[in-house]
């Protein structure tokens, strides 16, 4: 069981002496990421708002990527998936990631399609 802790994060770049120290280290990292998100959310740099790679503003892509980074460290260190056996971890993560990506892709494509129909069709605004 999870009594043996893997104490290195960032692919082994940062090693901690014990588990408690690692927890505080992860907290500091998550706080920094949140602070970056909030700062970007308040100031909204113009160059990130104007530039839209793959159908969404660069700023929104940054938010989503930072969120996934946070999710990774919450799951790996707080929910100690890092210390579980490889296949328990994979059974949990791969299943969820596959189903969620699938659902989101379908619903967003469909939503965008309906918007196009409304834009080019002759229907009332909202109901």
């Amino acid at each position: 069981m999870g009594h043996e802790h893997k104490l290195a994060i960032f692919q082994g770049t940062l090693k901690f002496k014990n588990n408690v120290q690692k927890i505080w280290g992860v907290l500091i990292f998550l706080t920094i990421v949140t602070a970056i998100e909030v700062a970007l959310g308040i100031y909204k740099p113009a160059f990130l708002m104007d530039f839209s790679p793959i159908g969404m503003k660069a700023l929104n892509w940054i938010f989503i990527i930072l969120t996934l980074v946070k999710a990774y460290y919450i799951a790996w260190d707080f929910m100690h998936l890092r210390d579980e056996t490889k296949w328990l971890r994979r059974a949990i993560v791969w299943t969820c990631v596959f189903l969620i990506v699938y659902l989101i892709t379908i619903l967003l494509v469909e939503g965008d399609y309906i918007r196009n129909v409304w834009e080019n069709g002759h229907t009332a605004w909202d109901f």
């Binding site: 999870g2 907290l27 708002m49 999710a71 919450i74 579980e84 296949w87 619903l107 939503g111 605004w125």
Partner: protein
């Protein structure tokens, strides 16, 4: 140390249930099963939110204009600050939870109790903040007018600064009284009457030349479109009712779906936090009375810990999709 709570006497037999290829106990596996199904439920909600948002991408409310309040503060609008605080509280309570789990592995009863206690306090602060956030959202900010087609018209001055209905409207005497059950059909009654009638708003709007209408449509600069005075005069004729605040049917901030999803998703998450606090309380008392000392291990703390971190994990996504993106 063996962490399995119940021994069945079949530990030695591979096919007797004694084999644990994942090296996780039954209880912990089941907690992960639950968390996965709950994660899929939440992604269903958030994906539905994304679907509706992509449908109305040109007219969706801008979150920074909706959530701008901080308790006890009445100055300029401050988007993000309070939610950032809530996020930090929840991450912090997650940290105290891991520390409790860690202390549990070392069989330090007092430490586990203290960390559980701090986790519960953090959770309570978060639920309280969310209740306040709801109350502010329901009460509303400036008020707006809704058209027959369901569009929301908001009011701004010449500089584009928001104007509240109360700033240019005076309520007129009206004979209309709210319909109550005792006066007619027993199963029907009516909520509070709006502060202003549509006629009041129209009269006030026509009397104040510097008030303009802002529509829901987002322009090239990513801001809501403000009409000219002449266009506004024409647009106000379409208004059929005033809207103050938000509920499941009317929403002064814009698309009503925004309010529906806000109530549904943050409500569902808030309910998770609330039940998490209750479960943590039960475990906290168990720690204090020494249940887990007797049992010889603190795996129960680890299991509720998993649930608690999951709630934090979901909030990270809700935070992104409701407040940031």
């Amino acid at each position: 140390m063996d962490s399995t709570a119940i021994t069945t006497g079949t530990e030695e037999k591979t096919w007797g249930g004694g084999n644990q290829p994942f090296k996780a106990s039954y209880g912990k596996m089941m907690m992960w099963f639950f968390i996965m199904s709950d994660a899929l439920t939440f992604s269903g909600f958030l994906a539905a939110y994304g679907f509706s948002r992509f449908k109305f991408i040109e007219s969706w409310p801008i979150a920074d204009e909706v959530f701008t309040h901080i308790p006890f503060y009445h100055g300029d609008p401050q988007p993000m600050i309070y939610v950032a605080f809530m996020t930090f509280i929840l991450i912090m309570s997650s940290v105290t939870m891991v520390l409790a789990v860690d202390a549990g592995h070392k069989m330090q009863q007092n430490k586990v109790a203290w960390y559980m206690f701090l986790t519960i306090i953090g959770g309570a602060i978060f639920v309280g903040s969310q209740a306040w956030e709801w109350a502010t959202f329901i009460k509303g900010d400036f008020g707006a007018v809704e058209t027959r087609g369901g569009q929301i018209l908001q009011f701004v001055d010449n500089e584009g600064k928001r104007v509240a209905l109360a700033d240019f409207t005076t309520a007129s005497e009206t004979e209309r009284t709210a319909h109550e059950r005792k006066n007619g059909l027993w199963f029907r009654d009516e909520g509070t009457l709006p502060t202003y009638t549509m006629a009041d708003v129209k009269a006030g709007f026509l009397a104040n030349d510097d008030v303009l209408i802002r529509t829901q449509v987002i322009n090239e600069e990513g801001e809501k479109t403000v009409l000219t005075r002449a266009e506004s005069m024409k647009k106000i004729e379409e208004g059929v009712m005033t809207v103050e605040g938000a509920n499941l049917v009317h929403n002064e901030y814009g698309s009503r779906l925004f309010a529906d999803f806000f109530f549904f998703i943050t409500g569902f998450h808030g309910f998770h936090v609330f039940s998490g606090v209750l479960i943590n309380l039960i475990i906290f008392f168990n720690v204090i009375i020494g249940t887990y000392e007797k049992r010889g291990h603190y795996e129960m703390v680890e299991k509720v810990g998993l649930y608690w971190h999951f709630v934090d994990l979901v909030w990270v996504f809700v935070f992104t999709f409701f407040y940031l993106v």
